[in-house]
Symmetry: C2
């Protein structure tokens, strides 16, 4: 049985907690949050504390608070030599105070309050200072996910950077699509099947092979027409940059 | 019964043909292609011709050839006053020779030979010069899709432009994600669940609400770190442009 305490109870830790509640080999012993959180199902039976001094002993402490707050917060923890992990993509393992045994438990996914998550599909990226701690984290992660990988802080930083491109920037392109349609009073719904198919296509196809469009086939007439249609200067700048890169890179390594 | 003849038999017309073969109210009377195409299942029972003069009479002729070729090709057709449509997002209805009754039958989706398509989910954008032709196209499109809309050539051009952002440019971001991981010998598979979730999230959530990431929360420390990690100048240019737009636009209308 692995005993877990959550430190902070935002988006990520709530999703993790839900996943652990499904595992018979994991006990969620306690939830700590600096501010009171009303216990709602499925969390109503888990002891909740607001005072650091009342945090109980556990096998793993999972910090799920904003990146910037991890260093200070971990410094203030009133115990030592325990396994303390954070859940961040971009934060170095050494950011956690060295008075505890440090580790990382990074679920590579975008979480939102509104959406359920099937954790089996979420890659979990682990790191630990000690071999025995890594083993424990591997066991814990293996209970909830089918993809568990050990990754150094340096590589994880790159992974997080790549995630910004395929998640944050992609979402911004969806916003632009929405804006262009809104100008014509067309519903965003029209683009949704295309958006889904674009993401599903590369599940089995290299994105280089999947690349299509006016820029990839050097269709200058259409590009010219599009630049003319773009009324928003910022949309236009992105269109030009993408188009130049696609024209010069197609077929080549980026 | 609506009788259809396909003119050109590439990606789009093959997908359309497969969909029509499932409809008891549609007959695919003939396939024309300028070059011979070996008849393979499920097309083996449809008469195939290579000579324009042997094209038979039908209710609708669907041109599915490259955008640039539509004008000349439609001019050469050896019949007149028939309903002739093209399947392009970016081509004006008037590009088709006026010797026939003109229309558009644009399926807003990205098609590939390798992937099956459930046409029910594909929005079909229609246009026709004559009301009775529009009605016929609506009936035909309604047999295969749940989303049939009438859209002018001007609006369709904007729709096609938006599609370039959410499909072609998004796919390029996937390529960049892949490249960044490849530099670290990390498998692209790690990003796939995130890519799927990003596209699924906005099926029920406005992309503005779904926006997250360092730029959206003005996390300058992470942005600085990412710019430092980016070794490829082109990736960096895109990172900077997206980040600037996200920082200045978040919350505001783009
Ligand atoms: N969101 C994602 O999709 C995602 C994905 C992967 C990894 N991550 C990482 O997971 C971690 C948590 O992110 P999140 O999205 O779950 O955050 P979140 O939903 O904003 O939750 C933040 C939690 O941290 C607490 N908190 C805020 N400032 C604090 C401080 N100074 N001291 C102590 N507690 C504090 C908050 O408590 P109060 O209620 O008291 O404010 C809240 O419980 C971050 O490191 C993030 O990079 C996020
Ligand atoms: N691909 C998509 O995802 C997609 C989505 C929506 C709309 N569209 C539109 O659908 C149309 C067809 O695109 P596609 O992707 O199906 O093209 P495609 O797969 O490249 O097929 C092109 C077809 O046109 C024929 N063709 C090429 N040049 C020709 C010419 N000068 N005269 C007569 N026939 C010619 C080809 O025949 P040969 O075998 O003889 O070369 C082939 O059958 C385009 O207007 C495109 O904008 C495409």
């Amino acid at each position: 049985m692995i005993e877990v305490v959550f430190l902070g109870f935002g988006n990520v830790n709530q999703h993790l907690c839900k996943a652990f509640l499904q595992c018979e080999n994991v006990t969620v012993k306690q939830i700590f949050n600096r501010n009171f959180i009303k216990s709602e199902p499925p969390f109503e039976n888990i002891p909740f504390v607001e005072k650091m001094t009342t945090i109980e002993t556990a096998d793993v402490y999972i910090i799920g608070i904003p990146d910037d707050a991890i260093a200070d917060f971990s410094e203030k923890l009133p115990f030592q030599n325990k396994l303390v992990v954070h859940t961040s993509g971009g934060v170095h393992i050494n950011t956690i105070s060295e008075k505890n045994r440090r580790g990382v438990f990074y679920p590579l996914q975008t979480f939102s309050k509104q959406r359920q998550m099937d954790f089996k599909t979420v890659p979990i990226c682990l790191e630990a200072e000690k071999d025995s701690d890594l083993k424990l984290l591997q066991q814990l992660a293996g209970y909830i996910s089918n993809t568990v990988v050990e990754i150094s802080s340096e590589k994880r930083a790159k992974l997080h950077l790549a995630a910004v491109f395929v998640n944050n920037f992609t979402n911004y392109l969806y916003r632009i699509g929405n804006e262009i349609l809104a100008e014509e009073n067309l519903p965003f719904n029209l683009l949704k099947p295309l958006i889904l198919e674009t993401s599903e296509k590369i599940q089995n196809l290299d994105p280089r092979e999947a690349q299509t469009g006016p820029a990839a086939r050097n269709d200058l007439k259409t590009i010219e027409k599009h630049l003319h249609l773009l009324t928003n200067g910022e949309h236009k700048k992105l269109y030009e940059l993408f188009t130049n890169q696609l024209k010069s890179n197609d077929g080549k390594k980026l």
